[in-house]
Amino acid sequence: MNEWERVLRVLSDPAVHRAVWVQTGQHIYLSVVPVLAATLVAVPLGIVLTRARRLAEPVMNLVGVLQTLPSLALLAFMIPLLGIGRLPAMAALFLYALLPILRNTYTGLRAVDPALIEAGRGMGMTSWQLLFLVELPLAFRVIMSGIRVATVLIIGWATLAAYVGAGGLGDLILTGFATVSAGHIIAGGVPVTLLAILADWALGRLERAVTPRGIRV
């Protein structure tokens, strides 16, 4: 039996099919929840940082350090804190997702033309109105691209979650490694790639759909 036949056998195995579906579901869950949570934290935090610029530098650095930690190390680090399973995996992925979103929120808001902010203030907008009617809409594209980057990143890294028993398509890939089965690696790897591409495309469409015509590029 040559390598190709082994691969084909694995790929046509109904048990593997089932595993792909189940794990894709888990994978989506493992990725979406941390990205959503990171968005909910990073966007407001980014807004706060534009109001308290002295804090921006240290906070950004701190979040940057989290980003530089090797992902496996971070996952391993979560185990004594949160045990094994989904929770530590999602916590680690959440920390990873923070930086791109935070950075884009901050720079996106900073990049809003000061003249527009002055115009808004001069016309009598409160700072909340300024934020929601002017700053956020204008920074929206940049923030959104931060979320996109984070999503693609997290979908990739979520494969590592299998190491701490969180499930996801990483399981298939790990099985492939353990049994030297290219079929399993493909069965796990291809859906992950497709998920990432699909997420990027879908978020891109969403971004276009909600960007007002006046600032579309």
Binding site: A119, G122, M125, P212, G214
Partner: protein
């Protein structure tokens, strides 16, 4: 409308942008704040809507101390136009214009009607433009909308911070003309910052020239041109403009106000007597309602003394004249081209109001480009 009392703005680094400013702007006035960059004009403007807050002193808008008013409420009743135009790119023209009305809680229908009222004021068709985005408009159109946006909530007071500074000269001039036209219709109180003297002269009822945070001169465009307070003002205005302004002086400022007149039935001898008495060499012939009939000079009387009896018989049929309001240069040109010694000035009903003579030219020369030159308009005595 606005009153600055002993207003000083000091920045934390110690620079004093505005020093002890006292200034009052009356309702309906179009006041230009002008001066070199760093003179404090923009700071002065921004203190009115509290984008900048004074260090000392009090500013009153409509009699209210603005530091005791909620800045947001204050700003909503003051129109604001900035140099960078500042239209929100993610909002349509309609949304931009109705921004303040919407903040004030106007309903949709009222906002829509307001847009339909406003856009035609600057020659934009509401149906064509209301749903466009700012970037789909030219720079000039954008700033027209910028001005409308300031007018939208019907504020009495409008602040304009070099609104036309970023536009090309042709567009700028067109917008200045439109603003002038708008103002003659709307009679808003406008505080307008510029560093362009031509713009100030063209638009302002009153010019406040600033330097180093202090007012150097405060007066009508005429005042500044005719009587610059010092060399700085004169240099800032520029000799050419002052000379040009003198040329544009309306005839009534230089004319002789009470020229010697006589009815057409006056006898020649009598007329000569009158001219000798007043020491002039001509009389203006008018009817009972002071309507201009002609001019008769002493020489003409001499020539016709044998054949005529009254002034009416010898005066020339259609006398040359100018109307009130014509620039003095035009009058002088006509006198030169048509070889006239005298040019009567009349009102719309051809009633005589004055007389331009060659001595007028001397008056004009004495003013030309000279700071603190002759005060003009007071030439007495030497009549026709």
């Amino acid at each position: 409308m606005i009153r600055f009392e002993e207003v000083t703005k000091e920045y934390p680094d110690g620079t004093r942008a505005v020093k002890n400013l006292n200034l009052e702007i009356r309702k309906g006035e179009f006041v230009c704040l002008i001066g070199p960059s760093g003179c404090g004009k923009t700071t002065t403007l921004k203190m009115v809507n509290r984008l900048v807050e004074p260090t000392r002193g009090t500013i009153y808008v409509d009699g209210q101390d603005i530091m005791k008013v909620d800045p947001v409420q204050l700003r909503r009743r003051i129109g604001y136009v900035i140099q960078q135009i500042g239209l929100f790119p993610h909002m349509t023209i309609e949304e931009n214009i109705t921004l303040v009305p919407r903040l004030l809680g106007w309903d949709k229908e009222r906002c829509r009607r307001r847009v339909e009222e406003l856009l035609p004021l600057v020659g934009l068709d509401p149906d064509q433009y209301r749903h466009r985005y700012p970037r789909e408009l030219s720079g000039g159109q954008q700033q027209r909308v910028g001005v409308l946006r300031a007018l939208a909530a019907e504020p009495d007071l409008i602040l304009m911070d070099e609104p036309f500074g970023a536009l090309d000269p042709i567009t700028r001039e067109a917008l200045q003309d439109e603003l002038k036209k708008l103002q003659s219709k709307l009679h808003k109180t406008i505080l307008f910052v510029t560093h362009d003297m031509d713009e100030a002269l063209k638009l302002a009822d009153r010019i406040v020239l600033m330097k180093d945070g202090e007012v150097v001169q405060d007066g009508s465009p005429e005042d500044l041109l005719r009587h610059p307070a010092n060399d700085f003002v004169a240099a800032f205005i520029g000799r050419e403009r002052m000379a040009a302004a003198v040329g544009a002086t309306p005839v009534e400022e230089l004319m002789i106000r009470r020229p010697v007149t006589a009815g057409p039935n006056k006898g020649l001898a009598e007329a000569v007597q009158l001219m000798r008495q007043k020491r002039v060499d001509s009389v203006v012939v008018v009817d009972e309602e002071n309507r201009l009939l002609g001019v008769v000079t002493a020489r003409e009387i001499q020539q016709h003394r044998d054949r005529a009896r009254t002034l009416g018989e010898i005066m020339s049929g259609e006398p040359a004249c100018v109307e009130v309001g014509a620039p003095v240069t035009e009058a002088l040109q006509r006198m030169f081209v048509e070889r006239l010694d005298h040019l009567p000035v009349v009102d719309r009903e051809r009633r005589l109001v004055g007389l331009i003579t060659r001595t007028t030219l001397v008056d004009l020369l004495s003013r030309e480009g000279w700071p603190n030159g002759s005060t003009g308009g007071s030439s007495q005595g030497v009549s026709a």
